[in-house]
């Protein structure tokens, strides 16, 4: 099981345009990362906080309070951050879309 997980993540990380892949647990602790340690720590803190905030926002916006954040995509001038959260974990992928769209 672990081998296939590793293979999947490796494939994702080696894709054209992908700068880094980070996986956090619910507490914002990095489980796996392809980024340098300090950068990983930074991403872990800041993005975890942002995801918590986004999760709360999405939930509070819903009339029933039943809505859930499923995917978050932050497009910036320099790159794009994609976050796929579930109940227990958080997958963060940083990519440069310009690189990807270049033929």
């Amino acid at each position: 099981m672990a081998a296939s997980v590793a293979a999947t993540l490796n494939r994702l990380a080696t894709r054209k345009g992908v700068h880094g892949v980070v996986i956090l647990n619910r507490q914002g602790m990095a489980i796996r990362s392809t980024l340098p340690a300090d950068l990983t720590r930074q991403y872990a803190h800041l993005l975890n906080a942002l995801v918590v905030q986004a999760r709360n926002t999405v939930r509070d916006l819903d009339s029933d309070g039943q809505n859930e954040l499923t995917f978050m995509r932050i497009r910036t001038k320099k790159h794009e951050i994609m976050v796929a959260p579930n109940h227990d974990y958080l997958l963060i992928v940083v990519q440069n879309p310009q690189e990807q769209f270049q033929p």
């Binding site: 099981m1 672990a2 296939s4 997980v5 999947t8 993540l9 494939r11 994702l12 894709r15 345009g17 992908v18 996986i23 647990n25 507490q27 914002g28 602790m29 990095a30 489980i31 796996r32 720590r41 872990a44 803190h45 995917f71 995509r73 497009r75 994609m82 796929a84 959260p85 579930n86 227990d88 974990y89 997958l91 992928v93 990519q95 879309p97 990807q100 769209f101």
Partner: protein
């Protein structure tokens, strides 16, 4: 000066006189005291005489004393006062003290004024005074209104001061918070560092973590695969892309292959989803090198996720055909070499949710062809195995077929049962179908008894089609202004593709009758493995052959050679071809386990006159067929009987 001296002299004299007079008066008083009787009389008369003379003297003296210059003036004044007195005016009452004395003196000679009264009529008008309306007016306002300018300034000041203070407080607080946060972060960082290798390993090996990675990476990969950059800036000058050559070529859109799953396997079928145009299902035969892996494999691919399949389905036997259910987006149906029909559900795991029994009730021979007929509310799955058994199934009840039919033909070599390799229903038809067989004939068959004919193959009609096994049979799909649904094409291992016009389904011939094809396309240099009409262009069909070529024919343009012929991948043989429902893409499966998806582009959009032109083309073909030799010589009838469907 002399006058003055004279005056002084006079005054002295007068003074002397006065003194003398006073002396006299005293003496006379003394005298009167002595004689009171006389005195009363003398008092009555004398004072008036003496006082008047004395007063005159005093007056003169005073006047002189007050001013010599005014002496004359005073004299005239006294005269005038007298005159005024005679006038009787009351003005005389306002007089200087000097005059009073004169008045009082001259009162004696004043004549009495006697008023004359007369009656006068008088009218008295009483005019009320013009009233001046005066009122005090006040506006009710708060005192602040008038006091405002000043306090406002004050307030502003206070406010700014307060704001400044607050800001300061806030900054301080923020700094404190920042500090706190930093500390917390530091703590958290410390905590993260605390996540030990063991813990990591535990998480990494847990099932739920694997599920999470599987799902989330899928989502991310789909997002990454988005070909369109929604942030594209069209104001930026881009390099002009040359679209000119794109109009008449097909483009390889993507290739689906999984090194781990598809190694040493061949693609046995490809089929697009009707519900989700980006999904396609491909089936594979067994991998002889991997004994532990399941023999059969069905993968669902997404054109937006090329790296790996969306779903992986397993089977115990080689899967020969696979298709999405036309009416359920979640269901995938597969037929196997063992004769089982399997049903997978994308909501379930990789094992089939339903399967037909491996017994004489169903198929016991390989099932190479399946088709769905009917409508959303009433549909069946029709499957035919190589022992000539046709079964129809209900998708939610695969335990036993709804009906079975033996497809037999008297002239079949060896056994009566025909070995069906493919079959097809004309558009809108659910009972009559045409089957392609292993020995190269095409027969018409009916599911039910009809007036004058029994269910099964029409014995008299024979489409003496190919010199080798028929590998594909496809009816013209029903669309556009003209109905070509009686046309069908077949492909065969005899290197040809043939175009047919189906005989009327209504009445079978009473005498043996051989039907010849309208046209034979003999461009291929190898087995032709599959053929399929385009669902959008009436004159277009695709074929794949053993040389690994994907050929696109447009009969309106050329009937001799395909308009496009490309060889994707390694150039190994291509097994199957399938059109996406809009006709804009076509997928081909290769014997080395690759599925290639081609973008057909502009060619898939027919012009409006393509239908009439195709009608013309077909009639020309039929005309030339009648005039030419009826059955063209096959170029290579080489290995018809020894051909095995499983390569």
């Amino acid at each position: 000066m002399d006058r003055r001296k004279e005056e002084l002299e006079k005054k002295r004299q007068k003074l002397a006189e006065l003194r003398k007079a006073r002396e006299d008066r005293r003496r006379s008083q003394q005298k009167s005291m002595s004689t009171p009787a006389d005195e009363t009389q003398s008092n009555m008369t004398m004072p008036s005489m003496t006082s008047s003379s004395a007063r005159n003297d005093v007056d003169k003296l005073v006047n002189d004393l007050i001013g010599g210059r005014r002496s004359q003036h005073s004299a005239t004044q006294s005269v005038s006062s007298n005159v005024s007195d005679t006038d009787g005016s009351d003005m005389g009452s306002v007089l200087s003290p000097t005059q009073t004395s004169t008045v009082s003196v001259s009162a004696e000679p004043r004549t009495r004024f006697i008023p004359e009264f007369s009656s006068v009529e008088a009218v008295i008008f009483d005019f009320p005074p013009k009233e001046r309306v005066v009122y005090s007016k006040e506006a009710q306002t708060t005192g602040e209104f008038f006091d405002r300018p000043d306090p406002e300034v004050l307030e502003q000041e206070v406010r700014t001061r307060l704001a400044a203070e607050r800001e300061k407080d806030r900054l301080a607080k923020q700094a404190a918070e920042e500090e706190e946060r930093r500390r917390k972060h530091a703590q958290e960082a410390a905590q993260i560092r605390e996540l030990s290798e063991d813990e990591k390993k535990n998480i990494l090996t847990s099932d739920e973590f694997a599920d999470f990675v599987d799902y989330s990476t899928k989502v991310i990969e789909r997002a990454l695969n988005e070909k369109y950059d929604f942030m594209k800036d069209y104001t930026v000058v881009q390099d002009e892309e040359n679209d000119a050559e794109a109009s008449n070529t097909v483009k390889l859109a993507c290739t689906f292959h999984s090194e781990k799953l598809c190694q040493n396997r061949s693609v046995t079928d490809v089929n697009w989803s009707l519900k989700h145009p980006e999904l396609l299902v491909s089936s594979y035969n067994k991998n002889p090198m991997a004994i532990n892996e399941p023999d059969g494999l069905v993968l669902v691919w997404n054109t937006h996720l090329v790296e790996r399949p969306e779903f992986v389905f397993h089977s115990q036997a080689d899967v020969l055909t696979a298709r999405f259910s036309d009416f359920h987006a979640n269901l995938v149906i597969g037929s196997t070499y063992s004769g089982q029909i399997l049903l997978w559900d994308t909501r379930a795991k990789s094992l089939p949710v339903l399967r037909t029994p491996l017994s004489a009730v169903g198929h016991t021979h390989p099932v190479y062809a399946m088709s769905m007929v009917g409508t959303q509310n009433a549909h069946n799955l029709i499957s035919v195995s190589t022992d000539g058994l046709m079964c129809s199934w209900q998708l939610d009840m695969l335990a036993q077929p709804l009906e079975t039919l033996e497809l037999t033909h008297a002239t079949h070599s060896g056994t009566d049962e025909v070995a069906v390799t493919c079959f097809g229903f004309p558009g809108n038809e659910t009972t009559t179908f045409w089957v392609g067989t292993e020995e190269g004939n095409v027969y018409q068959a009916n599911r039910y008894d009809r007036a004058g004919s029994k269910a099964g193959i029409y014995q008299q009609d024979a489409y003496n089609a190919h010199r080798g096994a028929v590998t594909g049979l496809h009816f013209h799909p029903l669309f556009g202004p003209i109905d070509f649904s009686d046309l069908f094409i077949t492909s065969s291992v005899d290197w040809t593709v043939k175009l047919w016009r189906a005989k009327s389904a209504a009445k079978p011939a009473s005498a043996p009758q051989t039907i010849a094809p309208i046209y034979s396309f003999e461009d291929a240099g190898d087995y032709v493995y599959d053929v399929a009409w385009s669902p959008s262009h009436p004159a277009m069909f695709a074929s794949v052959d053993g040389t690994g070529h994907f050929n696109l024919w447009n009969l309106n343009v050329d009937t001799e050679v395909p308009v496009v012929s490309v060889a994707p991948g390694s150039g190994r043989a291509l097994n199957k071809v399938s059109w996406e429902k809009e006709g804009r893409k076509a997928a081909v499966g290769s014997v080395d386990g690759y599925v290639h998806v081609y973008d057909i582009g502009e060619m898939s959009n027919p012009r409006m006159d393509e239908w009439t032109q195709f009608q013309k083309t077909v009639s020309e073909m039929m005309h030339s067929k009648e005039t030419a030799e009826p059955v063209p010589e096959p170029r290579s009838p080489a290995t018809s009987s020894s051909y095995s469907m499983l390569r």
